[in-house]
Amino acid sequence: MNPLMRFRDVSFGYGGDDIIQSISFDLHEKSCTALIGPNGVGKTTLLRLAAGILQCNTGSVFLNEHPLHDLALKTVARTVAFVPQQLDIPFQFTVRQVVEQGRTPYLGLLRGPVREDRMAVDRALELTDLTRLQHRVFNEMSGGERQRVKIALGLAQQPKLLLLDEPTQNLDIGRQVELLDLLHLLKAEGITIFASIHDLQLIEGNFSTVLLLSPNASLMSGSPEEILQPTILEKAFNCPPRRHPLLLERALLHNERAR
């Protein structure tokens, strides 16, 4: 089976030096991939390249074997949805009005929303458990609720690939679990997930593949067990050995397994 998205020797920089240097990886259909790496290494940039918001300087991104830059943005937006970290909306738009904007790639200048569009919005609200909150004002909602609205907005695009930028950031542990439940639900719906994650302890059991992006080193890819090893993480995150509780715990676990 061909991968849904392929990065081939992709390099990108905002004018100056390349942040992303010659990166290659595949995203297989219905996989659930976590993107990890230290701050400022280019995780958001990588996601924006995958969404077609940015165009790589060299190399290519392929969506279903088509170069991304050859496809119209509307076509890309019907397959790939990007859920950003921040979404600031002026005025008192309701949840439903916000989610309806996800139908934009299906609408034309004179083609307004039809029944199919309303059904897609209903489905997105249902999956994110927002049906009862759909008339609430987006700006008056809590962080956890807003995160769900952002995901619903992406789901209204009916994407095959959902890109999430730090979806668990600023969420309390209860809302984090809720969010992971939602990701499992979406995976069951057949949606491929690619998310950047800071909370490394949330990866195991929830993601099938981990991509580790580290400065001045090549991209590492593997199962959570392969990548989430203290030595690898300490090096990639430039973290002094055995100082972070997570790494300490992992080291103990590793030793136990070895015995």
Partner: protein, 368 residues
């Protein structure tokens, strides 16, 4: 992948109870039915126009006008002249000005994602006045469709100002709201005063000056029927052009980058909004000069009634703007009768405090 323990215990809605507010099941916005509101405003506009026709130095009761309209009780010749030739064009002109200002305010607020934008604040009407003054002082002989070159130059002035203000407030693909407001303020002040230069070159023996001053104060003149029909046609075509742009404004609320990612051609939308908004500003300026606050208050109140969906706001804002300015102009010409105060000045005195009151009341919604 191993089955997750998390997957087996999906959180039920009951568990999320703490986040649920008691007023979840009904909409906090847009409780007023859309069709009902449009109908109501249409009727209100009609009533306000009739009342305004009845108001003036010569008293003609609204009942007389209604009787003439519906019960074939014709007006006397004098009354006909007063109502049809003197008052009606002016009342219709104020309706056109009000609708044009309100719609362009709505469009600019949507484009800049900011409730503070209106043609007066961001310099669009200042540019229109500058263009118009050039027309008055240098091309006063030229005329197209009963219009002096003034109207065309007002449009060009408005578009050019908007382009300058907009490009000044953008960097790295983002619009900086503070820069925008400051740039708009600077440009509109500059343009406002620059028109005084034209007084120096005035060769028309004071006529140009008089027109200019009445424009700067915001006086709605009694237009010729040709002028009125051209502006009405322009207003209606702007509404038709605006309609598909309104849904795009909703998408633009997510931010330029997000809208772009959803496949919206943000640049086209922006140019469309700026051109249409400037056309509307030029329509308003050519009939009534600089009138503040109408473009700010009317979209604001409409949004309070109906929520922020621009598609629905368009007709409501247009009607509300027309009603608002017909009322304001009627007041302006009747409060100190037989002397008139310019409606622009009345708006500054009445509209200002009213807007401050609204701002105070709804300050919660202005998290920029």
């Amino acid at each position: 992948m191993t089955a997750s323990p998390l997957a087996s215990t999906p959180a039920t809605t009951e568990q999320r109870g703490q986040e649920v507010h008691p007023r979840d099941d009904h909409s906090p916005r847009g409780r007023v039915g859309f069709v009902g509101l449009v109908g109501l405003l249409g009727a209100a506009l009609f009533v306000v126009v009739v009342l305004s026709l009845a108001t003036g130095a010569v008293r003609i009761s609204p009942a007389t006008i209604f009787a003439a309209l519906f019960r074939h009780h014709p007006l006397s010749v004098t009354q006909q002249i007063i109502v049809l030739q003197i008052r009606l064009p002016r009342v219709l002109a104020s309706a056109v000005v009000g609708a044009a200002l309100a719609i362009s305010g709505l469009m600019f607020q949507g484009l800049f994602r900011n409730p503070m934008a209106d043609p007066y604040v961001i310099g669009s009407s200042g540019g229109a006045v500058l263009g118009a003054s050039i027309g008055i002082f240098f091309f006063s002989q030229l005329s197209i469709f009963g219009f002096s070159a003034t109207a065309l130059l007002a449009f060009i002035g408005s578009v050019a100002t908007m382009a300058v203000v907009y490009s000044l407030s953008r960097s790295n693909g983002r619009t900086h709201v503070i820069t925008l407001l400051l740039a708009g303020f600077a440009v509109s002040t500059m343009l406002g005063y620059s028109s005084y230069f034209f007084e120096l070159f005035d060769s028309s023996g004071g006529t140009g000056n008089r027109i200019l001053i009445s424009w700067l104060h915001g006086v709605i003149s009694t237009p010729s029927w040709t002028q009125l029909s051209v502006t009405t046609v322009l207003l209606l075509s702007a509404v038709v052009i605006a309609l598909p742009l309104m849904r795009q404004l909703n998408t633009l609320a997510l931010g330029d980058e997000y809208a772009h990612q959803l496949g919206l051609r943000v640049e086209y939308t922006r140019v469309g909004i700026i051109l249409t908004g400037s056309l509307l500003t030029a329509v308003a300026v050519s009939l009534g000069g600089l009138i503040s606050f109408a473009g700010l208050i009317v979209p604001h109140i409409s949004r309070l009634l109906l929520g922020p969906d621009h598609v629905r706001l368009l007709p409501v804002t247009a009607l509300a703007g027309a009603i608002f300015l017909v009322l304001a102009d009627t007041l302006a010409r009747s409060v100190f009768a037989p002397t008139e105060i310019p409606v622009g000045i009345l708006m500054a005195f009445l509209g200002g405090p009213f807007f401050l009151y609204l701002l105070r009341k709804t300050k919660r919604s202005y998290a920029l």
